[in-house]
Amino acid sequence: MEKKIDKTIDKSIDKTGVRIGMWLFLYTEIILFGGLFVLYAAYFHKFPDLFAQGGKELNRVLGTVNTAVLLISSFTVAASITALQRGKKGQTISLLLFSIFCGAVFLVNKYFEWSAKFHHDIFPNSATLQDGPDGLNIFFGLYYVITGLHGLHVIIGMLLLTITLVLVIKERVHKDRFQLLENSGLYWHLVDLIWIFVFPLFYLVL
């Protein structure tokens, strides 16, 4: 008896409701990063020249590569949803694996980027920044906070995609029940969306 009831509950998922829930969470994420962008805007207004000088210190090539990596991974995640909707499990699995791999590539690039900065004595509380002009210190402070928080989101996104991948392999996530994949995908796209704004604001300021 009880099992029967469970099954009916199982089958009637409020698909729209699940998605609205995810979007509501994403709005809080937008405001979270939005707050940091407010800080960026205010200090950029005060120190435009020093922000440009700081931006020139950043590795433009690595930034561009990372942008491309995130865009491609966003594409493969979106494609994995299409694959699952069409009932192609194998394709879904390989697309998800590739997306997680892209996330790892992004983090490795970030690691090299940050290491190079540390090497040049540019990190929070470093002597160069402490004794340097305020604007430069603030620029790199914001750089570390925003890219750090973004990197954390990449890690969480990779974790979500991995969980989804396991459930796809176990066939708990499938053609008629792909809300988890959809929501993990939405999270991954949000990470990409934030990077789309971080990239020009930090790496390409003139």
Partner: protein
């Protein structure tokens, strides 16, 4: 309750076109950044970024086929962020006069 759940499937081809557009716009934004446009530096960069964000939202995040609740609530979230950022300048812009 909702019998017509949106089950829109976006083809690989469509997604591929969107990806190509996004990569092209990334190229444009990098190219434009080496040209000094004066006051327009930031607005142009932000305009390109917003275009990219719109493409991601519409196609990758399925916003184009989404129900009205999500579209309206998303737009209001962005509008409030816009209010937050723009009203901040009423303070900051007049604070550092000298």
């Amino acid at each position: 309750m909702n019998t017509q759940e949106s089950q829109h499937i976006i083809s690989y081809k469509m997604l591929g076109i969107v990806l190509a557009a996004l990569l092209a716009l990334t190229g444009v934004t990098v190219a434009v950044s080496s040209v000094d446009l004066g006051v327009f530096n930031v607005p142009v960069a932000l305009l390109i970024a917003s275009t990219k964000a719109t493409l991601v939202l519409l196609f990758f995040m399925h916003m184009k086929y989404e129900s009205r609740v999500i579209i309206v609530s998303f737009i209001s979230a962005v509008v409030f962020l816009g209010i937050l950022i723009s009203l901040m300048f009423f303070d900051v812009a007049f604070r550092y006069f000298s």
